[in-house]
């Protein structure tokens, strides 16, 4: 039941920018993941010893070094800083000259300005002593932190966009859904270009505490570099991370006319809700399977044409089984022949950002004809029996790539990238 005809206006990716643990910039990011190195470590941003999970994948990122002015660095929450820097790299990569009225922005984020908010909270509440917080200590940018559309505003101002701009916030699928939203906007004619991607900088005490409370993050604190173990039998939760990835999405003819280098077409995107539980997943993966089915159908892609699956692979017991089931439902027997890997094994789970970072990994994999591995995978869970590209990257040409995501609130999203039609 879907009448998603192939849109008349097709959407391609012509620029990529990345801020990730292990390295800022596309090249540093690809170097890390293609070599199977991990960037997870004991948390350094503050003392993690009061927490159950004490590891994270942090970005070594200095906003001034990365080109922001001191004023911008003061004003912007860290998540906004990441987004602006990644957007600049993407726009430069694309060689695009921005036409303001025809350029939009779509940025995804699950937790917005959480870091900035918590820092300000500690000040105005006198470290939690006062419920009746003191407005005299509030900084002017507190309202920008309060409503995270300030992040998409910063990107739009920086690139000069005056078309449709939005922040998309669907939890851990925000990174896929924001890019899907950007595609929607171009397809229906509201813009010819959308700077789309996602960011999250959630490594802050309140985030650690809330994931500790539900034991969703790993407490493998004595082995930080191997703590993220998607699909492995010994996995026991995800590693919290921060990151951003931003793309230049362009209407295909617009890109062709100016001779842009096209990474791939976004030939399908769909999202469904599991309507089951805010944090739990049923093991059958049916709603993710439905999102995958619809995304493939939009691109007129047969399951057997999928060359690589980029997994959500967060490393929780429930997720890795859930999406293995979803991939088997949709790809059938072909699932056993299709390499599938999780880069969260190397850069952790940056919540709303990771969906976009994973799209970047897919596009770079297509460019280099190399599929990134799943690090730390030594003994797969017997219920996870697909080819997860353990430990070492795989040389393989991938023309059609499927990337999936799953998030709190029940969100299940799938996107198909295809470079044959680009």
């Amino acid at each position: 039941m879907d009448n998603s005809a192939r849109p008349a206006r097709r959407v391609v990716v012509t620029g990529i920018g990345v801020v990730a643990p292990g390295g800022t910039g596309r090249a540093a990011f690809w170097d890390l993941i293609s070599n199977g190195r991990t960037a997870t470590r004991r948390i350094t941003f503050f003392d993690p010893s009061p927490f159950r999970s004490q590891v994270a994948a942090e970005c070594d990122f200095d906003p001034i070094e990365r080109g922001l002015t001191p004023r911008q660095a003061r004003r912007m929450d860290r998540a906004a800083q990441f987004a602006v820097v990644a957007a600049r790299e993407a726009v430069t990569d694309s060689g695009l000259a921005v036409d303001p009225a025809r350029t939009g922005v779509a940025v995804g984020s699950a937790v917005g300005c959480t870091t900035g908010l918590e820092q300000e909270y500690s000040v105005v509440s006198d470290s939690g002593r006062k419920w009746h917080v003191d407005n005299n200590y509030a900084v002017p940018q507190l309202f920008d932190y309060y409503v995270p559309s300030s992040i998409s505003s910063e990107v739009a101002w920086d690139v000069g966009a005056e078309g449709p701009v939005a922040l998309i916030s669907t939890g851990c699928t925000s990174g896929l859904d924001a890019v899907g939203h950007g595609r929607d906007v171009i397809a229906e004619g509201g813009a010819d270009v959308v700077i789309a991607g996602a960011t999250d900088a959630p490594i802050s005490p309140i985030t650690l505490a809330c994931f500790d409370a539900i034991k969703a993050t790993t407490n493998r604190n004595d082995e930080p570099h191997t703590a993220s173990r998607p699909f492995d039998r010994s996995r026991n939760g995800f590693v919290l991370a921060e990151a951003a990835a931003v793309f230049v999405l362009e209407e295909r003819e617009h890109a062709r006319r100016r001779g842009a280098r096209i990474y791939a077409e976004i030939s399908g995107f769909a999202t469904r809700c599991n309507a089951f539980h805010m944090t739990g997943l049923r093991p059958d993966g049916r709603e993710m399977a439905e999102a995958i089915r619809v995304a493939l159908a939009q691109g007129r892609i047969a399951p057997t044409e999928v060359d690589y699956v980029n997994a959500h692979g967060s490393g929780t017991k429930q997720n890795d089984r859930h999406e293995t089931a979803a991939v088997k439902i949709t790809l059938g027997e072909h699932a056993y022949r299709t390499p599938m890997s999780s880069i969260k094994s190397m850069i952790g789970h940056s919540l709303g950002a990771i969906g976009s970072v994973e799209i970047a990994a897919c596009l770079l994999a297509m460019e280099h004809d190399v599929l990134p591995p799943t690090a730390n995978l030594h003994e797969p869970d017997p219920e996870c029996d697909l080819d997860y590209i353990p430990l070492v990257a795989r040389e393989k040409r991938a023309d059609v790539v499927l990337t999936v995501g799953s998030g709190f609130g029940g969100f299940q999203s799938a996107m198909v990238l295809d470079r044959r039609s680009a």
Binding site: A213, I214, K215, M278, G280
Partner: protein, 83 residues
């Protein structure tokens, strides 16, 4: 020591009153699932129990305590051990 009545009070506070069972009835050996409480509700109840009774409950043990009796055995075992 923690009693069934105290556990029921904590569950009500953390996760609301059961929609499907009478918590004031004979529920000692009824599974939390049958009482309508999922793992999230029980994690919250375990957290509240730890705070109120000043005990530490090991991850796996909490997940394996499927009924009020098993939960109370776990908690009171810890209280005895530490006490």
């Amino acid at each position: 020591m923690m009693t069934l009545a105290e556990l029921v009070a904590i569950i009500r506070e953390c996760a609301g009153d059961s929609d499907v069972a009478d918590l004031d009835g004979d529920v000692l050996d009824v599974s939390f699932e049958d009482l309508g409480y999922d793992s999230l509700a029980m994690l919250e109840a375990a957290g509240q129990t730890q705070r109120r009774y000043a005990v530490t409950l090991v991850d796996d043990a909490v997940v394996e305590a499927r009924t009020p009796r098993e939960f109370l055995t776990l908690v009171n075992g810890e209280l005895t051990r530490v006490g």
